[in-house]
Symmetry: C2
Subunit: 230 residues, 2 copies
DNA sequence: CTTGACACCATACGGTGTAAGGTGATGTCA
DNA sequence: TGACATCACCTTACACCGTATGGTGTCAAG
């Protein structure tokens, strides 16, 4: 019978393949549309078969988070730290907006995977090698990570068009502009004078924030060095 | 019959009451344990009765987010802006850690309520009145909000004890310390030299971050004024 | 006495994660 | 060769979820 030797057999499911497929599904339809049954169908398999390779759905989610961190390149050792960290921040923001579900997941997953830990390790290594003390490195990472994640969080929850400007939302806002000016005059003024101006893109705020933080870190670093020299 | 005049009748359900009860449930058991059936039971009612007062579960979630923003006091007009914004940042962080589910919700809800808009309006008003230009106010709000939300996000996803130190997680970490030192030496070093030291609390990083950002904003503000004077 | 709004409820449908227990193909060893 | 274990997958079932549909009793106004 032909069932004996399926030459072009379906590739066997693995944890990796399952996680990768889950990431694709979440990218396409949002994290809330990811179910074990749909994931199984995508892999050409029944739902319960996944549990042979994966402990639970949470296990899949943990894998997805780790997959996201795995996509972020580390700042290359030996380069000037300010521009390297600027590029790195941009890289993190870019993968978080490429996988908008990731930020929500980070909130609930508390068991980091190998890629996540490796990522942390790499950034610490880079900062120490750039002359940061251990506690300044911790300051810098906490500050930058918080800002970048928070920015990505805000950015994805905005009703923006893909181009990054507010054209998609403008129409709705305009329709309510009148009501808003009465109840929230300052908010309306900001919208009118700034946000609704052609060319405004919320994403531009990111550069300002990262620049300000890096500048502040440089100052703090110099202060620490000076007080150590005395 | 006694059914004709229940003098101490059950208080009727309203949207407000439902939202408030939902917040209490989410505070107690996490957002993922909040279901329409449990919420109804809490209000002494059947699940479908909620839909008379509320459009959908998403509607409840929108209300919860708005309720959180309503808990945040606005910076009082007339006070010095740096200390006012420092206090305000601490206030935001405090309500976000009091309602850990809120940060995850902000990610998915894109239709802000009245309290949310009023909050934004109040902060804009405060900054303008403190001498910020419109674009500097936007910079400041984006930067501080992103940082505060991001910090709260990281803080809640950490396996911390309530006291804010790492005692609860220490044991597990210690057990894996050996493995970690081999695979992630820098991360292990940071844990050993800094995080596991008695008295360390991740929450302390918040003050450093807010201080650095406020200092940077002050500098940017002065630069803008100077270049305007020339 | 009728009418209609109000606040609530019963039932049902299609979805979810996953526990429990098969089923057949494959490889190992007596 | 035959027995047996392991692997990768499947079937069935359960408790739970959000909510569409269509009630049902109370009450005040006409």
């Amino acid at each position: 019978m032909n069932s004996s030797a399926p030459v072009f057999a379906r590739e066997p499911v693995t944890r990796e393949r399952a996680v990768r497929a889950a990431m694709v599904l979440a990218d396409a339809g949002g994290i809330e549309s990811l179910s074990m049954r749909k994931l199984a169908r995508e892999l050409g398999v029944e739902a319960m078969s996944l549990y042979y390779h994966v402990k639970s759905k949470d296990d899949v989610l943990d894998g997805m988070v780790d997959g996201v961190f795995g996509e972020i390149p580390l700042p290359p050792l030996g380069t000037e730290w300010k521009s390297a960290m600027r590029d790195h921040s941009e890289a993190v923001r870019s993968v978080l907006t490429r996988h908008p579900w990731a930020i929500a997941l980070v909130d609930t997953r508390t068991s980091p995977g190998a890629a996540t830990l490796g990522h942390l390790d790499g950034v610490i290594a880079f900062l120490l090698q750039s002359g940061f003390s251990m506690s300044m490195a911790a300051h810098a990472m906490s500050l930058l990570d918080s800002y970048v994640h928070g920015f990505a969080l805000q950015e994805t929850s905005l009703p923006l068009s893909e181009s990054g400007d507010i054209s998609a939302a403008t129409e709705d806002i305009m329709r309510q502009q009148h009501l808003m000016s009465e109840a929230f005059p300052h908010l309306a003024a900001m919208a009118e004078e700034l946000v609704l101006k052609p060319g405004y893109a919320y994403g531009n705020e990111f550069g300002f924030g990262v620049g300000l933080i890096l500048q502040g870190l440089e100052t703090a670093l110099a202060d620490a060095e000076e007080s150590a020299r005395v």
